[in-house]
Amino acid sequence: MNPENVLEVLHVAKSFGRHPVLKDVTFRIQPGKIVGITGENGAGKSTLLKIIVGWISPDSGQVIKKVATGYCPQDLCVFETLTVAENFAYFGAAYGLGNGNLPGSWTAKKEWLLKRFRFETYEKTLVSRLSGGTKQKLNFSLAVLHSPLLLVLDEPYSGFDWETYVHFWDYAEEMKSNGTGILIVSHFVYDRSKFDTVFELKGGTLQCA
């Protein structure tokens, strides 16, 4: 792997039965770059992301990443019968983060994220009682709890209101300036200027959009 890259996807192919979804996908992400992948429904965007994070394996090809990765799945993937704070505690333990008020602890980062995305009033609320947008904020926050150097986001801002959308991009810019490589998959790319590179996934291959 080229040390200048936080992610290398090399000739990845994946079929489901006789239906080829990805034919030959190759791209790289460098630190501090935001890469977008767009495409129609069923183009294979989520499949590609699941291969990148290791959720499913490719039929052929290689994914190389050697930095801490944060993944925000498209479908809400949080514990609905736990509170917001308990979800942070659960995932904080999974990332191996300490608790307490020390810098780098999950508790400190939780406080910061709750304020940053304006859902601190719901800290002790069961997730099942939250609105869709607030659930999505939690879904995203859990992906960045450990300050990853590679962030993989599948439709991250669906359900966000305008203000949260703006906050999201401010935060993405901050992470970018700190050297995090960000991969965003979405149906549409609204703000082309925010991306360093945008690909379109079409016919199982990536094309520059």
């Binding site: 994070v53 290791g54 959720w55 499913i56 394996s57 993944y71 799945p73 479908d75 993937c77 949080v78 514990f79 019968t81 736990l82 308990e86 505690a89 659960y90 995932f91 333990a93 999974a94 990332y95 191996g96 069961l126 859990l142 450990h146």
Partner: protein, 254 residues
């Protein structure tokens, strides 16, 4: 193995379970109802049966009601724990996988659920067993409690295995209802066993050792070691199979 992960998983799973108050209450109401029905429909007529773990030629003669109370107590513990184990294993499949992606190991996820299941097995086993002295006095009460707990252990591990194999709830429930009805709900009753033609089938079902342990302890002074070890071995084999399948399904490709 990292204890902090298992402890966190145990805490969160236990909190979720305790928040489901209706299900939690049913864990105590259902065995009480089972006992009440048995109490109402049985008499103290003496019945004779043989216990497989003692001798094929030795017949015991006990009260029909007492025999049925032990049998139904074990069935209640087995059925309840297998359903809970199924629920714990199947529920939050995607969220658990995300945890694994974030750093949990698959066996830590399953072990934390198993630890919660063990607590429930002990709680329900003790509760169901503790009601017995109100209805009759088993010969070795503490060993009957142990028998109920091993029933919960074996069937809890079976529930975990079914939950690890099947993604959807319906298939899981059908598999549990099917076996539990046949096994602890019918064939392990010594009255049926005494008359059965193919006893080898009954001896290989999950409820065999726990029911033998409970019956031997309730009505005789014979050794309980063989059914106890058999129960632990059977349950552990099911648990290991569940962990293997769970690991296979949850594994992350590096």
């Amino acid at each position: 193995m990292r204890l902090r992960h298992i402890q966190t998983g145990w805490t969160m799973t236990a909190r979720e379970l305790l928040r489901n108050r209706i299900a939690f209450l049913l864990f105590f109401i259902i065995p009480t109802l089972f006992y009440a029905v048995i109490f109402l429909v049985t008499t103290h007529r003496q019945i004779a049966f043989k216990l497989a773990s003692i001798s094929e030629s030795t017949f015991l003669t006990v009260s029909q009601r007492n025999e049925a109370l032990i049998f139904i107590g074990l069935a209640a513990v087995g059925i309840l724990t297998s359903f809970l184990a199924l629920n714990l294993t199947q529920k939050h499949a995607a969220e658990n996988r995300r945890l694994v992606l974030c750093g949990f190991r698959t066996y830590e996820t399953l072990l934390s659920k198993f630890a919660v299941l063990l607590c429930v097995i002990v709680g329900v086993g003790c509760y169901v067993g503790a009601m017995l002295p109100l209805l009759f006095t088993p010969r070795r009460f503490l060993l009957v409690l142990l028998g109920f707990m091993t029933g919960g252990y074996v069937y809890g591990c079976y529930g975990m295995l079914v939950g690890a194999i099947f993604k959807r709830e319906l298939e899981g429930i059908l598999f549990i209802v099917l076996l539990a009805n046949f096994d602890v709900g019918w064939l392990q009753n010594p009255i049926y066993y005494a008359q059965a033609q193919n006893k080898a089938i009954i001896r290989h079902l999950p409820g065999f050792f726990p029911s033998q342990l409970s019956m031997v302890s309730a009505f005789t002074d014979h050794s309980f070691l063989q059914p106890l070890l058999g129960s632990l071995g059977y349950g552990t084999a099911l648990l290991l199979a569940a962990m293997l399948i769970f690991w296979w399904k949850m594994r992350i490709r590096k």
